[in-house]
């Protein structure tokens, strides 16, 4: 009964309601749209804010073995998840090698906004995620890109010209730099320095997240409506992946000794699929892969699934495991 309520509580949160408004507006083909510069600005703001907050939290708590274990687990999961996903995409999903590799890379990587939303939803339920998970988020962005590429290109020589460019794109992409950079700033500035900028980065946070999720809802639904390349098998996988990977993440989290909230957050990271960094890398490295497949799966199915269902599910699972 209590669990039931906690599963549905998020639907009274403005954060989730604005996401639903976005989905609905696009479904009705309204012309509501967020200017691109504003959306980019909000995403930079959200990343700087969680980076700072995480850094300050670690400045307070200090670094310990738990942090190292979480980072190692994150990297390992980001590498490994594409391997399983690839196999299923080839067999059950019937995709060719290139597209299967590209989609697999998305599911190994992570979605910043899913993580941020999870933080809010978990927080509202009394589950406070450890600050160092921002660093885990950042390190999980890229390994999956490498294993995805490896899978897609087995037996084909890579494109020499672009290797350096790709590695830079992958390791120095905007979100990794901003997340780790503001994490480091939070660490150095500490609670005292953070206090100066708290009004912007903390008070405004939930409101900005509302508007950002409004935009995500608009885009996710529009893309689904315009989708041509999707079939039922891929839709099934786009829901099965977060369920499976999220459960895996929660289990690993508990295995390495994370607390309830932090293990749930690791589950959310595993369940989430990238729709920013990885697509950009794919356009560079695997232009033959079809964005109509990988973006639609990650953005229009997995992302809403996680926001609306997944996060609450992994929270419940993590509570259950903790007894």
């Amino acid at each position: 009964m209590a669990m039931d309520a906690s599963l549905f509580a998020p639907f009274a949160s403005p954060v989730i309601l604005f996401f639903l408004l976005g989905l609905l507006a696009s479904a009705l083909r309204s012309d509501l749209a967020i200017p691109e510069a504003m959306a980019k600005g909000m995403s930079l703001y959200l990343m700087a804010a969680i980076g700072l907050k995480g850094g300050v939290a670690v400045a307070k708590s200090g670094v310990n073995a738990e942090v190292a274990a979480a980072l190692a687990a994150g990297v390992a999961l980001s590498f490994a998840i594409p391997l399983v996903a690839y196999a299923l995409l080839r067999s059950f999903g019937r995709l060719d090698q290139t597209n299967a590799g590209a989609v697999a890379a998305h599911y190994g990587s992570v979605s910043v906004v899913t993580y941020v939303t999870a933080n809010e939803i978990l927080g509202a339920g009394g589950l406070v995620v450890a600050g160092f998970m921002v660093a885990v988020l950042a390190v999980m962005e890229t390994p999956a890109i490498l294993s995805g590429l490896m899978l897609a290109r087995r037996g084909q020589g890579g494109d020499g010209h672009s290797r350096g460019e790709l590695l830079r794109e992958v390791f120095l992409n905007a979100s990794v730099v901003l997340l780790l950079g503001s994490f480091a700033i939070g660490l150095v500035a500490g609670p005292k320095g953070y206090a100066e900028v708290q009004p912007l980065f903390e008070s405004g946070f939930k409101g900005v997240l509302c508007l950002f999720l409004l935009d995500m809802g608009l885009i996710a639904a529009r893309r689904l409506i315009d989708a041509r390349a999707l079939n039922l098998r891929l839709v099934v996988l786009a829901i099965a992946f977060p369920l499976f990977n999220g459960t895996l993440g929660v289990l690993v989290g508990h295995a390495i000794g994370l607390d309830v909230a932090t293990a749930a957050a690791l589950g959310v990271l595993c369940a989430s699929a990238s729709y920013i960094a990885v697509p950009a890398a794919m356009r560079l490295a695997m232009p033959q892969a079809d964005p109509g497949i990988y973006l639609t799966m990650s953005l229009s199915i997995t992302f809403p699934f996680n926001i609306l269902v997944g996060i609450s599910l992994f929270a419940a699972l993590s509570r259950l495991l903790a007894g």
Binding site: K40, I219, A229, A280, R283, P287, Q288, G292, L295
Partner: protein
């Protein structure tokens, strides 16, 4: 009357993530310069796209003016990418002033 000369104007529609590669090719062809224009949305065989945030699906239009010889060099250099990365290239003759620059 001011004298004009004929040059090639080349416009290339390309994923924003690949602009750098195209402009590197232009520099390599020793063309004196290039200019990038923003693009809002489009539709092709791969379906519709929109200036979709930071999602790696947005495009740009690279424009360059060059002599006919250099234009041919550029097209040769870009040829492999034209197919693999789905660039859209159009090219036509224009009159320019101060043609010695190009």
């Amino acid at each position: 009357m001011i004298e004009t000369v004929i040059r090639k104007r080349i416009e290339i529609l390309v994923d924003s993530a690949l602009v750098r590669r195209v402009t590197d090719a232009i520099d390599k062809a020793q063309i004196t310069g290039w200019t990038v224009l923003p693009v809002t949305s489009g539709s092709g065989r791969d379906g519709r796209w929109r200036e979709e945030r930071v999602m790696g699906t947005d495009k740009s239009l690279v424009l360059t003016i060059s002599s006919i010889e250099k234009a041919e060099v550029l097209v040769e250099v870009l040829a492999p990418m034209l197919n693999s990365h789905g660039l859209l290239l159009t090219m036509w003759d224009v009159e320019v002033i101060r043609g010695e620059r190009f």
